[in-house]
């Protein structure tokens, strides 16, 4: 079994100067093609502001580099073996056919599309088989290229040096068989991840991390066959996660505080109207810490509202409360539905496994879920510990199946695409979640099931 090590994606134009990441033969080939064919951009063949790939530009990168703010890079069906880096504001990259426009990392390249500029849209295409992240939107980048983490070895990165990217949209993107993350927003704000699909990620299918007053909407997505479906670490305030299907992963979703990134603790998300069920996937990479059979994990997360979600069929626990080091899971409000026809019950609906040094406190639980320990409901809205915790060994015992290589995870079924692909979109709005509506009521177990590859 060969191992791979995350390293940063090459910053394309500086690659020759810095050259830290070895380029593959395929990558060099792309550069040569670019040099031969990417003459002055011609817009004669289409509406003003539309750059066509490969008609006008042989590669997506060449078109992106030629694009001005407000332009649309429209990609025709085909397989593109590129790492694309977007450094121009208000550029849209759109596939003409979601299932037919494929950026393929071939199991060797680092990433699919990385956006480090404000106002970037990535729409209606597929990104697969990259080593690290399929789509990454991040403000954390420098001359060595973009990255997405808060720690460099034993040194802590200063978030003030990397202001967040503002305004982004990832829509109708299929991200499959990617080594770490499918769709990833890190150090980014005022964005939307919608109507997308992510599978086969060894970390998480969709990830939102390290932001305050994030104003990020995650809606209408399917994440399945990932180690973790949706993950949030240190993304706080105005993150709204609604109407998604996070089923058939090893862990459905997590809300985490994490000292490895800035802005601990994680707090104040709204998670509403999602289906988080049957997270027992064997067709997925292992969750590296052994996580399996868990619906929602809250580790050191605070003041989150979990409402109207269907959380069922997770054999270890529907919701787990735990500490992150000295940070307690506190002030969370958890209510929803814990069973549905045709879905097995959770092993236990809500369990508290916090360590004594940071006991869960002030969490409020509505309805009548089963809990471990039994009196978990005590302490709602107070500073008192939410009853004693149970040792992790007291949870229902569930054997995690061996992990599957992220490259071997079954391909997703065709996904519904956009219709009016020729329309040049308006500038992305400054705010997102203010106008977002969250649905009333618990969704049906079949929410978005038609997009799932799991029968």
């Amino acid at each position: 079994m060969s191992a791979y090590t995350p390293s940063m994606p090459p910053k394309r134009r500086r690659a020759s100067l810095f050259g830290r990441v070895p380029r593959t033969a395929a990558y060099v080939f792309v550069l040569v093609l670019t040099a031969c064919t990417a003459g002055p951009a011609s817009s004669d063949d289409g509406p003003l502001g539309v750059l066509r790939v490969p008609a006008d530009h042989a590669t997506i990168q060449a078109a992106v580099d030629a694009a001005a703010p407000g332009d649309l890079v429209l990609v025709a069906p085909g397989v593109y073996t590129e790492n694309v880096l977007v450094e121009t504001t208000d550029v849209t990259i759109r596939g003409a056919d979601r299932n037919g426009v494929v950026i393929d990392g071939e199991g060797v390249r680092s990433s699919g599309i990385v956006a480090v500029a404000d106002g970037v849209r990535i729409e209606n295409l597929t990104v697969r088989r990259v080593m690290h992240y399929g789509v990454l939107v991040t403000g954390m980048h420098d001359d060595n290229g973009p990255s997405a983490h808060g720690v460099d070895g034993y040194e802590r990165l200063d978030p003030a040096m990397f202001p967040p990217v503002e305004r982004f949209a990832v829509r109708n993107v299929t991200a499959s068989n990617n080594g770490l993350y499918g769709i990833y927003a890190f150090d980014a704000r005022h964005g939307i991840i919608a109507d997308s699909y992510a599978s086969g990620s060894a970390d998480s299918g969709i990830y939102v991390g390290q932001c305050r007053h994030c104003d990020i909407l995650v809606t209408g997505n399917v994440a399945e066959r990932n180690a973790v479906g949706f993950e949030n670490a240190n993304a706080s305030d105005s993150v709204v996660v609604t109407g998604n299907r996070f089923s058939h992963n090893r862990v459905g979703m997590t809300l985490l505080s994490n000292y490895q990134e800035a802005f601990t603790p994680q707090r104040a998300n709204i998670v509403r109207g999602n289906v988080i069920a049957s997270n027992t996937s064997a067709d997925s990479p292992a969750q590296a810490e052994g996580g399996f059979g868990v619906g929602i994990g809250i580790s050191g997360g605070r003041d989150n509202l979990l409402r109207d979600n269907l959380v069922a069929g997770n054999p270890r626990a529907g919701v787990l409360l735990a500490n992150t080091e000295d940070l307690a899971a506190s002030g969370n409000r958890i209510e929803g539905a814990w069973s549905a026809d045709g879905v097995a019950p959770n092993g236990v609906d809500i369990a508290n496994i916090s360590a004594d040094r940071a006991p869960a406190q002030g969490n409020c639980i509505g309805g009548s879920p089963s809990t471990l320990p039994k009196h978990l409901r005590a302490g709602c809205g107070t500073k008192k510990p939410s009853a004693t915790a149970v040792a992790p060994g007291r949870l229902p015992d569930v054997e995690a199946p061996p992990g599957m290589s992220f490259l071997q995870v079954p391909e997703p079924p065709p996904q519904p695409g956009m219709v009016d692909v020729e329309v040049i979109p308006a500038r992305l709005p400054n705010t997102v979640t203010d106008a977002a509506e969250t649905p009333e009521g618990v969704p049906d177990a079949g929410l978005l099931a038609e997009r799932s590859g799991v029968s």
């Binding site: 191992a3 995350p6 034993y154 990833y184 990479p285 810490e289 580790s299 949870l395 992990g403 490259l407």
Partner: protein, 402 residues
């Protein structure tokens, strides 16, 4: 106990794609080790303190005490002694005793000494003050807080927890150490020992040597003077520090009995999985060489960490706790096997840091996630304020009352 950890049942570690980190090593070993001894705010030092060799003399005087970062390569032998100082919460009792200790240290390590007729060699004496006495000066002073109890601490004998005074003697000549300790104790009016114990360490360069499990230890530590100033030394007043303790540091001392027998019965690959490093050369299981950073994100295609989820190298990584990096200078110990008593083999965990919390947070995490803790049993636990440096004109401990 069941080794289902909290993290195991839950989640990804959260976050952090390792992009850049994978490639940068902790400077190069040689370069870093060559600059271990200076203190940014300290006075110029004599030539001999910089010597990493284990036979040359080590400067006892300066802004900081010897035995923390100098010599750069810890001497092979040690003698640790912990005492109580009844009545020493009174300045009039403590101040002259500390001053006398300092004078004796200068005398012992000077050019000629009746106690050590062949000379002091590389003898160092490091003096630390326990939380009871520091707290009596000012409860808000660094070093005034005792260690909390960690997993397994409940079985530590009472006299092995805490203490008022640490005398840590180190040198290449193990015979000289008890002679020097005797002389030091003579200045304390025969105060009885709580405990004392000899210790030793294998050969190595810098802080790295093999521990009783046969694995390299002391790899990830602050080395250059800038990092030492940031992570280890209590800062001077101009950097927001308290001048009473500037140039001091917080020492944590833990005696850990190690189950080397059970560990030895593990398959070599299982041993490495517990440590997170290769036994042969100390390289992290994520690849590279000994001084390369542990790549916490590196995974196999099937999703397993290359540096395993509960390995010591992962559990002890400071990025998880948001704390600083300790300067570790551990020593081994071994007690005799007699009759049915198999004796004890283990490690004196000795770490220096600017904040006690650096150790506390890390040890809590180890208790929760570290597979190595299954092989360790604490039998002594204490913290001491290693006093600021001293010289002939500025007696040991004199800054405490400024």
């Amino acid at each position: 106990m069941s080794w289902v950890s909290r993290r195991e049942v839950l989640f990804g570690t959260g976050g952090a794609i390792m992009g850049v980190a994978a490639t940068v090593s902790g400077a190069t070993a040689a370069g870093a080790l060559g600059d271990e001894t200076s203190y940014r705010h300290g006075p110029a030092r004599s030539d001999r303190e910089g010597a990493a060799a284990s036979s040359g003399g080590v400067e006892p005087a300066g802004m900081t005490q010897a035995g923390v970062d100098r010599p750069g390569t810890p001497q092979r032998f040690g003698l640790l002694a912990v005492l109580d100082l009844p009545g020493a919460t009174d300045r009039r009792a403590l101040e002259p005793r500390l001053a006398a200790l300092g004078a004796t240290i200068l005398s012992l390590t000077g050019e000629s000494s009746d106690v050590l007729p062949d000379g002091a060699g590389d003898l160092t004496v490091t003096v630390g003050l326990g939380p009871r006495l520091v707290g009596a000066i000012d409860p808000g002073l660094a070093g005034a807080t005792a260690l909390p109890r960690f997993a397994g601490d409940d079985s530590i004998e009472a006299h092995r927890i805490g203490g008022d005074l640490l005398l840590a003697l180190h040198g290449s000549d193990p015979v000289a150490l008890p002679l020097a300790l005797r002389e030091l104790r003579a200045t304390l009016d025969g105060t009885p020992l709580r405990w004392s114990e000899a210790c030793f360490r294998g050969p190595g360069v810098g802080t790295v040597t093999r521990n009783p499990f046969g694995f390299h230890d002391g790899i990830a530590v602050p080395r250059d003077s800038e990092k030492l100033a940031r992570e280890v030394w209590l800062p001077p007043e101009e950097d927001g520090g308290d001048p009473r303790v500037a140039g001091g540091t917080i020492c944590v001392l833990r005696r850990l009995v190690l189950d080397t027998e059970r560990f030895a019965h593990l398959e070599p690959s299982d041993q490495e999985a517990v440590m997170g490093r290769r036994r042969s050369d100390g390289a992290p299981l994520s690849g590279g060489t000994m001084f390369d950073d542990v790549d916490l994100r590196a995974k196999t295609p099937t999703g397993e960490y290359l540096v395993p989820a509960r390995s010591h190298a992962r559990a002890a990584h400071p990025s998880f706790t948001g704390s600083g990096l300790m300067l570790r200078r551990g020593y081994a110990f071994a007690t005799p096997t007699t009759g049915d008593d198999p004796g004890e083999t283990g490690l004196f965990f000795i770490a220096f840091q600017r904040e006690l919390d650096t150790f506390v947070r890390t040890q809590h995490r180890l208790d929760e996630t570290d597979a190595l803790m299954q092989f360790a049993r604490p039998t002594a636990s204490a913290t001491f304020l290693v006093l600021p440096g001293f010289d002939e004109n500025q007696p040991l401990g004199s800054t405490l009352y400024e």
